[in-house]
């Protein structure tokens, strides 16, 4: 337990000192995971909306697959991306391996199924409420999907948050495709893994505390937004 107290003190002094290395790692963590969340939403939301509003043969199978992919192990995603981005792989010419771009790509693949599956559920519930009215308005599918996405925006924010939480907390994928290179691809989780392997458990734990506080901050901001929206009955 003495480690925990030490870790808290260390976390505080690290933050207070404004250590530039720490800031760099925090900034890269946020940049990579926020980019991945944005891209995953760009892919996952339309897909979720399409499945939510469409009835087609094999829809049940699609749902099962979508839900199952939510449990993709990060290290497997990392390996798949590594195989493709490796110089000897089909996308090696891009030169993306061991760059933040590769990390963003891996996390996008990791969380896009989460965004798609959760948004499908949210949008399908809303669609049940709106469907008859929309048919009366004679909307095109595009218009229906657009309206659902916009009206579910605050619920979808939570969906995005679930994706972000998974992305910012995972280490398996980014350490394989990023390589944990100092000043280039080192993020909070890979730094924590590194300090753990050095046996510097208090520093590892301190970084973990900072990561937790960051996640808390992002969640609190979204929660505040949702509460504002709820007062307008937009949720």
């Amino acid at each position: 337990m003495q480690n925990l107290g030490e870790a808290f003190a260390l976390a505080l002094s690290l933050v207070a000192s404004g250590d530039p290395d720490l800031l760099e790692i925090v900034a890269l963590s946020l940049r990579v995971s926020l980019s991945a969340t944005a891209l995953a939403c760009l892919l996952g939301l339309p897909l979720g909306a399409l499945v939510a509003t469409a009835r087609f043969r094999g829809r049940g199978i699609v749902l099962v697959v979508m839900n199952a992919l939510m449990g993709l192990p990060p290290v497997v995603v990392g390996l798949l991306v590594y195989i493709h981005l490796s110089r000897s792989g089909p996308l090696g010419f891009l030169g993306l391996l061991y760059t933040p771009g590769a990390m963003i790509l891996a996390q996008t693949i990791l969380i896009a199924p989460i965004v798609a599956a959760l948004s499908r559920q949210v949008l399908e519930d809303l669609h049940v409420e709106y469907a008859e009215q929309f048919r009366s308005f004679c909307l095109t599918r595009r218009q229906v999907i657009g309206a659902l996405l916009w009206d579910a925006r605050y619920a979808l924010l939570t969906v995005g948050l679930a994706g972000f939480g998974r992305a910012v907390a995972e280490v398996g994928a980014v350490i394989v495709v990023g390589g944990n290179i100092d000043h280039l691809t080192r993020v909070m989780t890979t730094a924590i893994a590194l300090e753990t392997s050095k046996g510097d458990l208090p520093l590892a734990l301190a970084l973990g505390i900072i990561l937790l506080v960051l996640a808390l901050g992002v969640n609190a901001a979204v929660q505040a937004l949702r509460m504002t929206a709820a007062r307008s009955a937009y949720v």
Partner: protein
């Protein structure tokens, strides 16, 4: 849809932000033992200052480092598993292997030393004793340079510890630090390179029990990845870094790296290289 537009704008802004300074750079595939000791943090600023070449180190087990280099995902190899390194060169993947430096392995264990190996000078004898007593032993089990070295020592004792895998012999399948953490957690003996051990911060009541056997020497080699095998490599940059490491200046720098007042690596590049 305004929300999608906003998301797209954010995504673009984040992706197009400068990833890193556009200077020449190389990727070194290396081992956790060298990286965790802090050697690169000490050496790289000197080289980067002098050459203007940025060195990015990917620290993994020797086995994975060599495999990554075989996939052309590195410009230079700096590892410690001689037979595998020579195989790498003879397969045409590397230009040339050169001895760079050495350190040594030690066997660490808990203070109460249940197998009674403390002070022994013959590593094989110590391992045999551990096996005989059935005392816990934590192995990397990850095909790393350290793991290969450990297996080689076992093979000379005539004991096949993997038959006891899961009993007294515990293969963690992890890096050196993780294996030490696990070993210390279960009171097991472990073999580690001295550099990792000295800079390791979670020693608790563990100490070095066996050291000094010549069989425990740990030779590091450096190999530039061949441009013929991998057209995409930065051969010039890799050669420049290799040359610097092997030069009198680089060798001196390696000798000057200390943790807690102890020298961790002993340069031994051949004279003609420097």
């Amino acid at each position: 849809m305004p929300n999608r537009r906003a998301l797209a704008t954010t995504a673009l802004a984040l992706l197009t932000a400068p990833a890193f300074a556009q200077e020449p750079s190389i990727i070194v595939q290396s081992t956790t033992s060298t990286a965790n000791s802090g050697l690169y943090d000490y050496l790289l600023p000197m080289f980067e200052e002098e050459s203007g070449i940025r060195v990015n180190v990917v620290a993994v087990g020797t086995g994975q480092a060599i495999q990554n280099a075989r996939n052309c995902d590195g410009d230079l190899l700096l590892v410690h598993a001689r037979p595998a390194e020579e195989q790498f060169v003879s397969d045409g993947m590397g230009t040339e292997r050169t001895d760079l430096m050495y350190n040594d392995f030690v066997i660490v264990g808990p203070e109460d030393d249940p197998a009674g190996v403390s002070g022994m000078e013959d590593a094989q004898e110590a391992l045999s004793k551990i096996a005989e007593e059935g005392a816990s032993f934590a192995s990397r089990g990850d095909d790393s340079g350290t793991h290969k070295k450990e297996m080689q020592l076992w093979s000379d004792t005539g004991v096949d510890p993997t038959e006891a895998s899961g009993e007294w012999y515990r293969e963690t399948g992890s890096g050196m630090g993780a294996t030490l953490n696990a070993g210390i957690g279960m009171g097991a003996y472990a073999m580690t390179d001295r550099a990792t051990w000295i800079s390791f911060e979670n020693k608790q009541d563990y100490e070095v029990l066996v050291e000094g056997d010549e069989d425990l020497y740990n030779q590091y080699g450096v190999i530039p990845v061949s441009q013929e095998a991998c057209p995409s490599v930065n051969a010039e940059g890799a050669q420049a870094f290799a040359d610097w490491l092997l030069s009198a200046e680089g060798q001196e720098a390696i000798a000057g790296f200390e943790v807690d007042g102890q020298q961790l690596f002993f340069p031994n590049a051949p004279e003609e290289a420097s």
